[in-house]
Amino acid sequence: MQQHIEVKVNQREESALWDRFRRGDADAFACLYDQYAFSLAAYGYRISKVEHLVKDAIQDLFIELWRSRESLPPVKCLNAYLFKAIRYKLIKSGKLKVKYYTDDKLSDLLSDDISAETAILRQEEETMTIQKLSSAVKELSLRQQEAVSLKFYHGFTNDQIAEIMGVHYQSATNILHRALLTLRQHYHLPALLLLYFLVAG
């Protein structure tokens, strides 16, 4: 599997960068920032919807990383490590809606705005799909939405999602399974998809 080889190379570069940063290399630190800051911001914004909280969390996280660089451990998957950290920061700020933990259906945290992105997609044949999907996603609990976002937007594995969200592997798989079950009611995902999740879950 070439895929695996490629991932390994990236990981090696990544951990080399991480090591340089831990030894106090400010350039490596800036490199790490450039590489991960935006996806961290996107994730933070997705779960908090409050931009200034995201900015504060990112600042706090990276300032703290720099200050404590010498005592940081080597990291296997840096991306997941940072996602977990930013999530922790947001929760610790105490301003992430409490609702979040109760797995409540739906949220007022999601905006109904039809973005430019969606507007363009609208002209394409998949418009209907997106619309249906978009309303379906809003039906998901915030926890489910987060897992879906991590999986299908950020490309994390179930393992990493469990790590980031601080749940067991099995729970992460269940969360994703339930999410797809809900999505299916609004959007005709092939039945097989669920079949697979049931089997795998």
Partner: protein, 366 residues
């Protein structure tokens, strides 16, 4: 088709597949191209699975559309203030030009570094320990210094780069004490007149409310009212660029002001109004003539004491070792660092910055 459906579902569980669908590259393209060619049913399967992944992906992307794309740059401005810029060794090497200058400078720095490392490591640590209260300063060179003026009519502040600020009553400024980063940055609340020392390589920024004034070397006045968001920038000499922090990327929202021009931001949102002002009517504060730094047979302690007093930076050195040193020198370099360079040239000493302080390593005199 049961088999094919199961395989589609399997694809949706395949992390490599998902990664390829959302961010393909040459290698993964080749892999999946090869994969689908191995069996005719795979092509449709792949397309279906990809469609599902991408629709979730695009939906997710639309959900973060409202996020300010500039957020990471803004956050970095804050973060970079906390990242140490360790060595600020600069040497003045008159009379040597071109690449020689750099070669000499490089070797001087290398040697100075070694000497410093060998001989001065312990005393430096010891002097830090003496100022144990100053733990923050020890942590990085990014220590901020703040001046507030609540009593005097005007207060003169000498910045280490040779720039000067006349701070009006009920106003305050803060900046990184050592002032030795790539950008010279000052944060203003209230009213101040700036006389900025020329340094083309290090632009000078004044942040007041959400308005940024960028200059290379000039004099101007800023009056800001944080509550109303009103900011007035008036230029006395030279030229400055003014923009809102959020518009740093947009050329069209940046305003170039020249001598005797004024830009008024009435509040935090609306477009500013540009106006010209009568010659000589820029409310420039009186700036006293440059301070004299001429010393005749002075002790190192007196000289460094004068620098410390002017620029509000602690300079640590070994008093006992340098007790007998007498220096005659005229430190008329523009900035604190120019003055230190000159002083080092004369005395054969070296200096470096660490933890918001300057450490001077003299050879001592007999």
């Amino acid at each position: 088709m049961q088999n094919s459906e199961t395989e589609t579902a399997a694809l949706l569980q395949n992390d490599d597949f998902i990664r390829w669908a959302i961010s393909p590259d040459e290698q993964s393209n080749a892999y999946w191209e090869n994969w689908q060619q191995q069996d005719p049913v795979r092509e449709e399967m792949l397309q279906n699975a990809k469609k599902i992944v991408l629709s979730v992906y695009h939906n997710e992307r639309a959900l973060i559309d409202g996020l300010d794309k500039d957020i990471t740059r803004k956050a970095w401005e804050e973060i970079s203030r906390h990242v140490e810029t360790r060595t600020a060794k600069r040497f003045l090497l008159p009379g040597i030009s071109g690449w020689m200058k750099y070669a000499v400078a490089a070797s001087v720095i290398a040697i100075a570094g070694m000497i410093f490392f060998r001989s001065q490591r312990k005393p430096v640590k010891a002097s830090i320990a003496l100022n144990a209260g100053d733990i923050m300063a020890n942590a990085s060179d990014s220590e901020e210094i703040q001046f507030s003026n609540s009593a005097e009519l005007h207060r003169l502040i000498n910045l280490p780069d040779g720039s000067r600020i006349v701070l009006s009553k009920n106003s305050s400024v803060h900046y990184a004490r050592l002032f030795n980063r790539n950008k010279r940055e000052v944060y203003l609340t209230g009213d101040a007149f700036f006389d900025v020392a020329k340094d083309a390589k290090r632009p000078f920024y004044v942040y007041s409310g959400n308005v940024v004034t960028k200059v290379l070397g000039t004099s101007f006045r800023i009056i800001s009212d944080d509550q109303l968001g009103k900011v007035t920038v008036s230029v006395k000499t030279g030229k400055v660029k003014v923009f809102r922090q959020s518009d740093a990327q947009h050329q069209k929202d940046q305003y170039l002001l020249i001598r005797n021009e004024q830009l008024v931001f009435l509040d935090k949102e609306t477009k500013p109004v540009k106006a010209s002002i009568q010659d000589g009517s820029v409310p420039a504060s009186e700036i006293p003539a440059s301070l004299s730094f001429s010393f005749d047979e002075a002790s190192l302690q007196d000289i460094l004491g004068a620098l410390t007093k002017t620029y509000h930076i602690d300079i640590v050195f070994d008093k006992a070792k340098n007790e007998k040193c007498r220096v005659t020198v005229s430190l008329d370099g523009k900035s604190l660092y120019d003055k230190l360079d000159l002083l080092c040239m004369v005395t054969g000493a070296t200096y470096h910055t660490e933890g918001g302080k300057i450490y001077m390593d003299g050879k001592g005199c007999n």
